[in-house]
């Protein structure tokens, strides 16, 4: 079925712009109308790093077929999780206030046959993580996947979206966090080597609510995830964390946009990545906009990249746009460094063999971010994933 979404007023986004500079590239005007989004050429600011040729036309007019991906999830007590379609799907799409700013996101909202809806009612504290497995089974057909995560007032929950297998997937994940809720959404991209994945995550954070999004990307040929946040009231807090590990030939791109459109909101962004092998390419673009209304906000964003071998490229672009002087604090940091030989020497001088020393240093690099995820069951799995990435490289030449 084809789903049509009517364009409605979106006071959260458009209405909050109080300055005249709506032309700022940090908050382009979106549209639900697919035709309003020309097919990107690659020269656009938001597409300039992405290898469009490898997207299998997912950014353009790829035929979106009924999906190959298999969905499986658990439903802990108090949670409703199901696939909806028709009127119900229509009703939940746009619940985050998302107005697509890309053609692919507009197409997902218009064309995805179903929506995976996870509902956590008000005041429910979910005792265990809600695990959603999305297993791709075919990369030769393109598919649209729509996910809506709704968290009621004062609810508490953790959702893990686990992407594995082979797929060519355009995805929209909408997250609605009502007032006072405490929510974590972890998105794991553990794809097979041939996967292509474009994903737009849009979160609306309610008054005094806290939202944590963790993007973890290991696998796939091209993965591009936009993790966006805006606020529905004062006092909301967003933590956007990311961990990625790119191998030879892989393109892993993480973009985020925090729209401080409400007073006394907070955001903290930490993305860490490692790169190894010829043609490994990572991109991090951190856009933070502090609107005129957003007095007393606090924001900090950082991106750190660890380059393990020659032939890699890490792009890191923090953007901070401030429209009010009345803020508590705003800052950013970005570093891209080669493997530190002094650390290696120190560990080796204590008898630790080189490969193990190297592993310790990389573990150490990721350690703080893994701890921030706050899902103990995942920590071990992540460290194991880092481990197996490193194992791939034993024979590759390392940076000296």
């Amino acid at each position: 079925m084809i789903l049509y979404v009517t364009v409605t007023e979106t006071p959260n986004v458009a209405g909050a712009v109080e300055t005249a500079d709506v032309a700022s590239h940090l908050h382009p005007v979106g549209s639900f109308d697919v035709a309003a989004h020309p097919i990107p050429s690659g020269r656009e600011e938001i597409w300039r790093f992405t290898p469009l040729k490898r997207l299998r036309a997912l950014h353009g007019d790829a035929v979106l077929q009924p999906g190959s991906a298999l969905f499986r999830w658990n439903t802990p007590e108090g949670v409703r999780a199901e696939i909806v379609d028709g009127a119900e799907a229509r009703e939940v799409r746009g619940v985050s206030g998302l107005v697509p700013n890309t053609r692919y996101a507009a197409r997902v909202l218009a064309e995805a046959p179903t929506t995976l809806l996870v509902d956590v009612p008000a005041d429910v504290e979910v005792g265990e993580p809600i695990l959603v497995d999305l297993t791709g089974r075919d990369a030769t057909t393109a598919e649209a996947v729509d996910v809506v995560l709704r968290f009621g007032r004062h609810s508490r929950a953790v959702v893990v979206l686990n992407h594995t297998g082979s797929a060519t997937m355009a995805q929209v994940v909408e997250v609605s966090v009502d007032d006072g809720a405490e929510v974590s959404v972890v998105s794991l991209q553990d794809w097979a080597d041939d996967a292509v994945h474009l994903s737009h995550v849009e979160a609306a954070v309610g008054r005094d609510a806290s939202y944590k999004h963790v993007a973890i990307s290991f696998g796939g040929d091209v993965v591009r995830m936009d993790s966006n946040v805006h606020y529905r009231g004062p006092g909301g807090s967003a933590e956007l964390f990311g961990l990625y590990f790119a191998d030879a030939g892989q393109h892993l791109e993480h973009r985020l946009f925090v729209d401080h459109n409400e007073p006394r909101t907070r955001s903290n962004v930490v993305y860490k990545g490692a790169l190894q092998g010829d043609g490994a390419h990572t991109v991090w673009v951190g856009n933070v906009l502090i609107r005129k209304a957003a007095e007393g906000i606090e924001t900090y964003e950082q991106n750190r990249n660890l380059v393990l071998t020659d032939g890699c490229r890490a792009d890191s672009v923090p953007n901070l746009e401030i429209e009010t002087g009345e803020i508590e604090g705003a800052g950013h940091a970005s570093t891209t460094g080669r493997f530190d030989d002094e650390q290696l020497f120190y560990l080796q001088s204590r008898g630790v063999p080189e490969d193990e020393a190297r592993r310790l240093v990389v573990h150490g690099f990721f350690n703080d971010i893994v701890r921030k995820i706050g899902v103990p069951a995942l920590e071990e799995r992540l460290m194991a994933a880092v481990e197996s990435e490193l194992a791939k490289n034993v024979t590759a030449e390392v940076v000296r």
């Binding site: 020497f345 120190y346 080796q348 204590r350 063999p353 310790l360």
Partner: protein, 256 residues
């Protein structure tokens, strides 16, 4: 019983203007049970000697030999040297973000002894080693040397010395940056290590103060990449009184 033999060692570093010779023929033998002190002006090459023996990749050995009980040390990788029984307490210990002291110590001990230490006795050993140098036990949970004060880093080196228990220890200015009490505490740690068996110690220092606690059998004066004079512990007293002027101003090669 171990012997470290350094023979006519020449070492260069790469600079923008090509290789620059730092060590210009160093010969030194450290036998088990002996404590050697090296003193010398800033920039004379003392740390270069220590790093070269440990195998830091920055230093190119252009000629000479280093052997440990006849084994070719220069042919070994850095970690092999450590496992063979060499230990270097560094002048500037390195910070390793995200790696806890406790994990680091256990990994090092496991690597050097070839098997994981028994958990129960290990925790006790670590606590004892830390207590002895008056390092708060909470340091075990902190990242290696990250945010440690100068003196805390040096104490941490001594904790490692005690736990790893090598055959030959090279201590590069372990006494620098220590307060008066810490100097006594660290010296006691080195003396305990020495009493633990027949150990060789090479102590690089600028101050005779530490030599009152750790009494050297031999003192070497290091000037411009060479040993300019050798003697017993009385030589340290002489240096304290007269400084290095006699050596620095003398023409190169004027050895005692």
């Amino acid at each position: 019983m171990s012997t470290l033999e350094i023979r006519d060692l020449h070492v260069s570093v790469d600079t923008e203007d090509g290789p620059k010779e730092i060590l210009k023929g160093v010969t030194l033998t450290i036998r088990a049970g002996e404590t050697h002190a090296i003193m010398g002006p800033n920039g004379s090459g003392k740390s270069t000697l220590a790093y070269s023996v440990a195998g830091h990749p920055k230093y190119q050995i252009t000629s000479g030999t280093v052997t440990l009980d006849g084994q070719d040390v220069l042919a070994m990788s850095v970690d092999e040297r450590a496992r063979a029984g060499l230990f270097l307490a560094m002048q500037y210990p390195v910070e390793v973000p995200g790696v806890s002291v406790s994990n680091f110590l256990r990994t090092a001990k496991t690597a050097v002894s070839g098997e994981a230490p028994k958990l129960r006795t290990w925790i006790k050993d670590v606590n004892t080693a830390m207590d002895r140098v008056k390092m708060e036990r909470s340091f075990a949970q902190r990242n290696v040397n990250e945010g440690f004060s100068g003196g805390e880093k040096k104490r941490h080196e001594i904790v490692q010395l005690e736990l790893i228990d090598p055959a030959i220890a090279v201590l590069d200015e372990t006494d620098s940056g220590l307060d008066i009490d810490a100097l006594r505490i660290v010296s006691a740690g080195v003396n305990r290590f020495k009493e633990n068996g027949d150990k060789g110690v090479l102590l690089i220092t600028h101050y005779t103060r530490i030599l009152r606690y750790i009494v050297p059998d031999f003192v070497h004066v290091f000037v411009d990449g060479r040993i300019a004079e050798e003697g017993g512990s009385e030589l340290a007293e002489k240096l304290e009184a007269e400084g290095y002027a006699a050596y620095v101003d003398a023409p190169a090669g004027a050895q005692a």
